[in-house]
């Protein structure tokens, strides 16, 4: 293959941060698709515009999801990327890999695709970047053979993801990995066969630090939390000061609820005022441990701006115990999806539907009680609806 001239992209090979151009060139060395991709990207850099056509629908047998169709608008110049579809491969929960599995994935992709990937996509899939239409099915066959399956796309349940949680983190209040994997396996059908009004994302963080950005990037957010007193090891607190932490200034003063007192010797926490923000615990992992009763706060509605503006997820269950087989959780997910399915317009995310029909209506439909934890503050407008049963029958 003739090496393409890429004067613009070449300028991105320098610098200390690893260069994607280097990877593209590496792949281009042995893969004509990668080479044409490089060429087309160089053209985009020159033209300051993308050169992909609006996606088309492609897929594997029995699935409606997992492959993103893509075609070049300059197949004349770049015939090898005339069709250049990505395969979304569901990652092992927590993005843990044994290298043999990862190598199998690479082998499949060298056989069928461009040799380029994203590790990972921002929903969490291993993204296999670019193959031709006729390779999709064989590639899928080889993937499942290698133990992998596709993730979600389109109006389906998207690949759920979870923080590393109990795999490594002392702060895990729930088994984020197991919950995520369990959901993933239970809802395979919903991932692969788009049947919803729009996409539906689930992300699981095992504590309020929310290391998978669950609250911002999923329709259904599961975030670990606790009840009970923060356990204090006063000796370790002392050790923290010894190593330079200014407990008054860095911990107590930044506690959002100002529920901590430090007299230079003893740290006191008024737990009934604590909102479990994690700040003090983050700063003193050895000295402080979360309360002993563990569970999750369930929130719904998070999403990016299209259509009605971005939303952060909203609390709908302040505390739910999460233990295998997670029936209460999965049942709630199903009830919510059913309601959304029934009332959602095409391309209307769950949060938007709740916004449109009202939290009140949503709660009643899915059978959840209203609690003050659901709001930052009660309503300010007087436009209150009453249920028929609140009203005295007319006597006029």
């Amino acid at each position: 293959m003739a090496k393409r001239e890429t004067p613009l992209l070449d300028q991105l090979e320098g610098g200390k941060w690893p260069s994607f151009v280097k990877d593209m060139k590496e792949a281009a060395e042995k893969n004509p698709m990668a080479e044409d991709l490089l060429g087309q990207l160089e053209l985009s850099y020159k033209d300051r515009i993308g050169h992909w056509k609006h996606g088309g629908i492609v897929g594997v047998k029995g699935y409606g999801a997992g492959v993103i169709g893509r075609y070049s608008d300059r197949p004349d110049l770049f015939p090898n990327v005339q069709a250049f579809h990505t395969m979304r491969v569901n990652h092992p929960t927590g993005w843990f890999y044994k290298t043999d599995a990862l190598r199998r994935l690479c082998d499949v992709w060298d056989k069928h695709g461009s040799g380029l990937t994203n590790m990972h996509g921002s929903t969490g899939d291993a993204i296999l970047l670019g193959t031709t239409t006729d390779h999709i099915q064989p590639c899928f066959d080889d993937l499942t053979e290698a133990g992998f399956d596709l993730g979600g796309s389109g109006s389906a349940l998207r690949t759920p993801s979870a923080c590393v949680g109990p795999g490594r983190c002392e702060w895990a209040c729930i088994d984020s990995l197991d919950v995520c994997y369990n959901i993933t396996m239970s809802f395979q059908d919903k991932i692969h066969r788009p049947m919803f009004p729009y996409k539906f994302k689930i992300k699981v963080s095992a504590c309020p630090n929310d290391c998978v950005a669950s609250i911002a990037r999923s329709d259904f957010s599961i975030i670990g939390t606790w009840k009970g007193k923060i356990r204090i090891d006063q000796a370790e607190v002392q050790a923290c000061t010894a190593s330079g932490l200014d407990i008054q200034k860095e911990v107590c003063d930044l506690c959002p609820t100002k529920c901590m007192e430090w007299d230079g010797k003893q740290l006191k926490i008024f737990d009934e005022d604590c909102t479990r923000c994690m700040h003090c615990i983050n700063l003193m992992p050895k000295a402080l441990r979360q309360g002993e009763q563990r569970g999750a706060t369930i929130l719904v509605g998070g999403k990016a701006p299209i259509l009605e503006g971005a939303l952060l997820s909203w609390v709908i269950v302040p505390f739910m115990k999460l233990e295998p087989p997670y029936e209460e959780l999965k049942d709630l997910i199903l009830r919510i999806q059913d309601w959304w399915d029934e009332h959602g317009k095409s391309r209307e995310r769950l949060g938007e539907l709740i916004k449109r029909l009202g939290m009140r209506v949503f709660l009643r439909a899915v059978g959840l009680p209203a609690v003050p934890q659901m709001v930052k503050a009660p309503r300010t407008n007087p436009y209150v609806f009453f249920w028929p049963e609140d009203i005295k029958k007319e006597v006029k």
């Binding site: 991709l37 515009i49 092992p92 044994k98 921002s122 109990p166 002392e170 929310d210 923000c277």
Partner: protein
């Protein structure tokens, strides 16, 4: 016939033995140096995680190189993080230094922990998507080259999380980032009336517009766009391919600041507009690089310890943010979408600058 619905490999088969043994029983962690996490279990066992930066767009050969390293030092166990860094998972303390040395020799930046700037969550851009207003990997590379030092050290007041999305769909975590780089269009889509009737469904195209700028023209089976009401979001194009929106002269990048995701101290919050527009200047987007660097430096020199970008700005006030960064405030910064009034100042409590 392929198996279907087998799901992903069971993560339990991917865990290093030290994790399997201490699963859910971790006691605390330390970060002795940037990029090195040491987790100690209740059992006393320790897990060493070495975090290395990745361009995310990686070739299979690059992955195989990671695998080789993991096999050499980590019994073949590694993971990726939610920000696309690589983590080498070691149980043997003695292998940490040699690993670090090898990573350095191979050009892997080690860092992204604690009060650093971690990897930039980003998207496809011109590499694979159909709606981008800018590239993704290119600006990310250009910015990371410039702020590299903040990745490999932990000298900032707090975590700084940067994200990039190449269009308003915001596939990155842009809407809740300390600093967000967002591709934007600035011109109205041009419906191709010859194609609309064939490729687009009129009602869903009309419904796709957040500001109601699109009207159906049922007679001609097409649509018209009210230029005054269009704010170039591109959502109509997603639904109706026959109304392209990309415009090389006017597409570019906007910069957003002050979002966060964690519940630590303050509630999660959205990023807010800092710079409405910077030009697309490939291959290295110098205006964008400078803008991001400026914000980071002003933040680094003014924020208090543990204060995220947004927390710092909330404390000093947006008036002060614009003064300190020298970024001009314009009418574009003032919201005019559906919740706009919530952002207007309904008090006399502000600073003069």
């Amino acid at each position: 016939m392929a198996k279907t619905d087998i799901g992903p490999p069971d993560y339990k088969t991917m865990l290093p033995p030290v994790i399997s043994r201490n699963y859910g029983k971790w006691r605390y962690h330390e970060i002795p140096q940037p990029g090195l996490l040491v987790h100690t279990a209740e059992s006393g066992e320790k897990l060493y995680s070495v975090r290395a930066g990745s361009p995310r767009l990686v070739s299979t050969d690059h992955i195989r190189e990671m695998c080789a390293i993991a096999e050499k030092y980590c019994d073949g166990y590694l993971r990726f993080t939610s920000r696309h860094n690589i983590e080498f998972l070691l149980s043997d303390k003695d292998k940490v230094s040699p690993l670090l040395a090898e990573l350095e020799s191979k050009g892997y930046p080690v860092g992204g922990t604690g009060h650093s700037i971690s990897n930039i969550v980003h998207t496809q851009g011109w590499v694979h998507c159909h709606t981008p207003a800018t590239d993704a990997s290119g600006p990310v590379k250009a910015v990371m080259d410039e702020i590299y030092d903040y990745f490999v050290t932990m000298k900032l007041p707090a975590h700084v999380r940067i994200a990039l999305a190449c269009c308003l769909n915001m596939c990155g975590a842009v809407h809740c980032s300390d600093i967000a780089i967002l591709g934007i269009h600035r011109t109205v889509p041009k419906p191709d009336n010859t194609r609309v009737p064939n490729v687009c469904e009129i009602p869903s195209t009309v419904a796709s517009c957040p500001t109601g700028a699109i009207r159906g023209d049922m007679k001609n089976k097409t649509i018209t766009v009210n230029d005054e009401k269009c704010m170039y979001c591109g959502n109509c194009y997603t639904v109706c391919p026959a109304m392209p929106i990309a415009d090389p002269e006017n597409d570019g990048i906007s910069i957003w600041v002050g979002g966060k995701v964690s519940n630590a101290r303050s509630a999660p919050s959205f990023s807010k507009l800092a710079i409405p527009f910077l030009p697309n200047n490939p291959p290295r987007w110098p205006e964008v690089v400078d803008a991001v660097k400026n914000i980071i430096e002003v933040y680094a020199s003014h924020a208090r310890k543990h204060e995220r970008v947004g927390e710092w700005i909330e404390r000093v006030g947006w008036e002060r943010f614009f003064t300190l960064t020298g970024i001009p405030f314009t009418d574009k910064h003032i919201d005019d979408f559906t919740l706009a009034t919530e952002t207007f100042r309904s008090s006399t409590l502000f600073k003069w600058e």
